[in-house]
């Protein structure tokens, strides 16, 4: 369970996120949606202990993220940020291998190698595993980052816009894969999505944020209504019944 209690982040006198109160039950996909600047990334990075908070507390599976040693947390929760950039020249496989660092401290065992193989093939990177990251396209690189997080094999997974740069086929494949992981392995996956239709299709819960606060939390049926979405995104959104459930139309 992820428990967010009265969390506040103050960037400056004008910009503040929170207070946010949120309880996420274990298991399933929780989609964080909301307009640009709503505070989705801020909340997610605080959950992943990459950003300190100015008030409140967050606990994941009973561990206070501000106090638990990083090394211990790394086996419970993994996080992928919206932007990733580094100068180190690594191959896809080496990068994914670092997902095993919390367990192996760099000395990969055959079991680690197997998990790495699996993460690589899940994300359709098998043919690219020997390539350097700076020789990949944006979407290929994004898949490599997600593979690294999956190789970390944690109960809780936090992903900030993992569908960035992905084409239709790979977006669907990634969401299906995450859905499987959430339901067959009981993982809890919190994921920031901009495509509300994807969110409705694959998530078990939607959490809508606006102006630094959670304004709606519920099942896709509860959130996917014209009123809620129009209010959250401040743009007219119609919700219609499509062949596979509801569809938001906003263009």
């Amino acid at each position: 369970m992820i428990r967010v209690t009265d969390v506040i982040k103050r960037y400056s006198s004008e910009v503040a996120i929170g207070p946010v109160d949120l309880t996420i039950e274990p298991g399933g996909i929780i989609a964080l949606v909301g307009p640009n600047g709503a505070g989705k990334s801020t909340l997610l990075t605080m959950m992943g202990r990459l950003l300190g908070m100015d008030g409140g507390s967050i606990s994941i599976a009973g561990h206070d993220v501000a106090r638990t040693p990083s090394r211990e947390l790394a086996t419970i929760v993994s996080i992928l940020r919206q932007e990733n950039h580094f100068i180190t020249r690594l191959t896809v496989r080496q990068l994914v291998g670092f997902g095993r660092f919390p367990y192996s401290q760099g000395r990969l065992t055959p079991a680690d190698e197997q998990i790495i193989d699996r993460a690589i093939s899940f994300l359709d990177l098998t043919g690219l595993e020997g390539r350097y990251l700076d020789e990949l396209s944006g979407g290929q690189r994004q898949r490599a980052y997600v593979a690294m997080v999956l190789a970390q094999d944690t109960e809780y997974v936090l992903l900030d816009e993992p569908l960035n740069n992905l084409d239709m086929r790979h977006s669907v494949a990634m969401m299906r894969h995450l859905h499987d992981a959430a339901h067959t392995l009981g993982r809890t996956i919190v994921i920031v999505l901009h495509d509300i239709n994807f969110a409705c299709q694959y998530a078990d819960r939607l959490c809508a944020m606006k102006d630094g606060r959670v304004v709606a939390f519920g099942t896709p049926e509860e959130i996917m209504t014209s009123e809620v979405l129009t209010d959250v995104f401040e743009t007219t959104v119609e919700v219609i019944d499509g062949p596979r459930g509801r569809l938001a139309v906003y263009y």
Binding site: S70, R71, T88, F101, E113
Partner: protein, 335 residues
């Protein structure tokens, strides 16, 4: 662009990410042989006739052997310091001489010698190491505040910082009549290395061992604070350890040899271009190339205007600048 080839995966054989177990890489062996040959050449290069003169063997042991050992230790230490610094800052263009660390070491050395002219080698070394540490911490603190961490601005600011510290040293030296100390430090050279004075350089060997042990952790740190924290690395502690190792290596080398510009910059970059950045398997190459380059520069310096010597720092500076510019152009081309 190239088409993703399924063969790439097949050739690498699944489960063999970094080819463990192969202890002696034939290429590495070749590298060791080449550098070994250079070191032998270094042992037998010089004005003094070690074969003919009566005290030839003694001179050989007093000057040539220490000089060659110093080349090995200093070359490897500076190359590794550059590598660790680049990983900790996530900037390809930093190394002890482009961040002011060597200038700080020089200042520390000078202060000790001004305050206590009779200070022992150990005391001078401690002064240099402490000053390098302080200087590196200041530089890292500055770096946390800039957003464009991978940009060229970073080394430019570092060089400026170094210039300021260097001029403070010059000022102090002028006031205390100790300009010659600055001169010796500025023109890093292996000329004066003799038995009894170079032995502290072995400390850098310990630094090397520490870097080898922490290699994977440094590679993870090189992925940036966030990814490193995500996989459970205690990032601040790693930065502290890295800074300490850099300070010790730079401080010791500065006291014994002097300034060795650009070595830590060009060596890791060349290795990374050719082999990527898997630190643990790269370290032997970084050490080897560092040793190779200083040795070649020292040999050139010794033979160019025989019987006199050109300081190795001068040759390194010229070579380093050329390689530096080539690297810049190369990286720009690759985007």
């Amino acid at each position: 662009m190239t088409v993703p080839s399924p063969a790439a995966g097949a050739v690498r054989a699944p489960g063999r990410g970094r080819a463990p177990g192969r202890l002696v890489d034939p290429k590495l062996l070749l590298g060791i042989l080449v550098v070994g040959a250079l070191l032998v050449a270094s042992l037998f290069t010089g004005v003094y006739d070690i074969w003919g003169a009566d005290d030839g063997a003694a001179m050989f042991a007093i000057t040539r052997v220490p000089r060659t050992i110093a080349l090995v230790l200093a070359g490897a230490a500076m190359a590794m310091s550059g590598l660790v610094m680049q990983l900790l800052t996530q900037n390809r263009f930093v190394e002890p001489t482009t961040t002011g660390t060597t200038e700080w070491a020089g200042l520390g050395l000078l202060l000790v010698m001004v305050v206590a002219p009779e200070a022992s080698l150990t005391a001078r070394m401690i002064g240099a190491v402490v000053a390098s540490f302080v200087g590196t911490v200041i530089f890292f603190a500055f770096l946390r505040r800039v957003t464009l961490r991978s940009s060229l601005i970073v080394p430019i600011v570092g060089i400026m910082l170094g210039a300021v510290v260097g001029s403070i040293s010059t000022f102090i030296a002028l006031r205390t009549n100790s300009l010659q100390i600055i001169g010796v430090w500025f023109a890093g050279s292996f000329t004066d290395i003799i038995r009894g004075q170079y032995e502290v350089l072995w400390i850098t060997g310990l630094v090397g061992v520490a870097v080898f042990i922490a290699a994977d952790r440094f590679t993870v740190a090189g992925l940036g604070e966030e990814i490193a924290t995500n996989v459970g690395l205690n990032y601040p502690r790693m930065v502290l350890i890295g800074t300490g190792l850099i300070a010790v290596a730079t401080g010791v080398v500065t006291v014994v040899v002097g300034n060795l510009p650009f070595l830590g910059l060009i060596v890791p970059n060349i290795v990374s271009l050719i082999r990527g950045d898997d630190l643990r398997s790269n370290l032997p190459w970084v050490c080897l190339l560092g040793i190779g380059i200083v040795t070649v520069c020292d040999l050139v310096g010794r033979t160019l205007i025989m019987p006199f010597e050109v300081p190795v720092s001068l040759i390194l500076g010229i070579l380093g600048a050329v390689v530096f510019i080539a690297l810049l152009l190369h990286r720009r081309r690759r985007g």
